[in-house]
């Protein structure tokens, strides 16, 4: 379980996060939704130890250490491998540094996303860059996967392919946190929703419980919360 406890973060005088708390369970897809602001990405960076913050974050009751990077991975929405590398070289790099690298899964994902090993990273389209990031992240045998805006700014068919990931064994038993500003066509694929606004959590709920107890869809609750 990832426990985010009252974390706050300022850039200059601007409060990006103001006492954000939530939990994300293993074996569930948790969705951080925020219509505006940058708090979502900052939250993921804070969990990954990529930015300082006030408050506390525990991963399976422990603070982040260097070894945690074998247990939790972050898939950003921008290219992070060297452009002069080929996809093959990026895979070799990952295999070199992570003991949790699973090359069998990597090859499966290469096929699933129809990526070619010899393609230089600098030549990938936005959609294929997102797929490369997913391929590299999901090929690690980690317990938690954090994905930043996996659907934003890419073509429809890539979106569909990426959505298929959420209905596959690729996320099975893992804790997944994704950020998005529009719930789109993955609404039925997520287990838990955290609604953020102005750096605070407005609502945290389980989607199936919300449907069962109140007969409301995620979009219904978003409308309620953001238009209130």
């Amino acid at each position: 379980m990832i426990e985010v406890k009252k974390i706050s973060k300022k850039y200059g005088r601007k409060k990006i996060l103001d006492g954000v708390s939530f939990t994300a369970n293993k074996g569930e897809v948790t969705c951080l939704i925020g219509i505006n602001g940058v708090g979502k990405t900052t939250t993921l960076k804070a969990i990954m130890g990529l930015t300082p913050y006030k408050g506390e974050i525990l991963i399976d009751d422990q603070k982040m250490t260097k070894d945690s990077y074998e247990k939790i991975t972050f898939i950003p929405d921008a290219p992070i491998m060297l452009p002069q590398m080929t996809i093959k070289q990026a895979m070799v790099f990952m295999a070199d540094f992570y003991t949790s690298w699973n090359s069998r899964r990597a090859n499966q994902l290469m096929g699933f996303f129809k990526l070619k090993e010899e393609t230089p990273i600098s030549e990938l389209s936005k959609g294929n860059t997102a797929k490369l990031n997913l391929m590299l992240g999901l090929s690690l045998d980690v317990d938690y996967v954090l994905m930043d805006e996996p659907f934003s700014g890419i073509d429809m068919f890539s979106r569909e392919q990426i959505a298929d990931v959420f209905a596959s064994h690729l996320i099975e038993d893992r804790g997944v946190i994704i950020t998005t500003h529009e719930i789109g066509d993955i609404e039925h694929l997520i287990d838990k929703v955290i609604l953020l606004d102005n750096g605070t959590v407005l609502r945290e709920f389980n989607t199936e419980e919300m449907r069962e107890e109140e007969g409301k869809s995620v979009v219904d609750v978003m409308r309620e919360v953001y238009q209130a």
Partner: protein
């Protein structure tokens, strides 16, 4: 399966299974897909598939022995009840919809009968 986002997805999966049983696509004792296969084919997440299977086990629709694929129950009473339940549920919502119009029962039954046979005839012609 078309997902309705206002109703628990796992219950929709359970109903989907019941429909398959009622129309005979799944028969007593038949092996059913693993939760992975089910998730992929219905485009739902594997946790939801897992939850649906758990619910169906609790209802006695399927049973699983360790390290074997789950199977549709061989208990005929339960299977019959599934059919009854679906019929009742459909009739319930039909009654709810028609009630405000205040149609006499005889007329209603006549219309239903005509409409129903027409549908079947059309389907057979296809």
């Amino acid at each position: 399966m078309n997902v309705n986002t206002r109703e628990p997805v796992y219950l929709q999966v359970v109903r989907h299974f019941k429909e398959q049983i009622a129309i005979g696509k799944f028969v007593a004792g038949q092996e059913i897909p693993s939760r992975r296969e089910l998730a992929a084919s219905l485009n739902i997440n594997p946790n939801t598939a897992q939850k649906a299977y758990k619910e169906m086990e609790e209802q006695g629709l399927i049973h699983t022995e360790r390290n074997f694929p789950s199977q549709i129950t061989t208990n005929e009473t339960i299977l019959q009840a599934v059919r009854q339940e679906l019929i009742l549920a459909a009739v319930d919502s039909f009654v709810d919809a028609i009630r405000p119009i205040n149609v006499p029962v005889d007329e209603l039954l006549r219309v239903v009968k005509e409409k129903y046979s027409e549908e079947i005839r059309e389907e057979e012609e296809k």
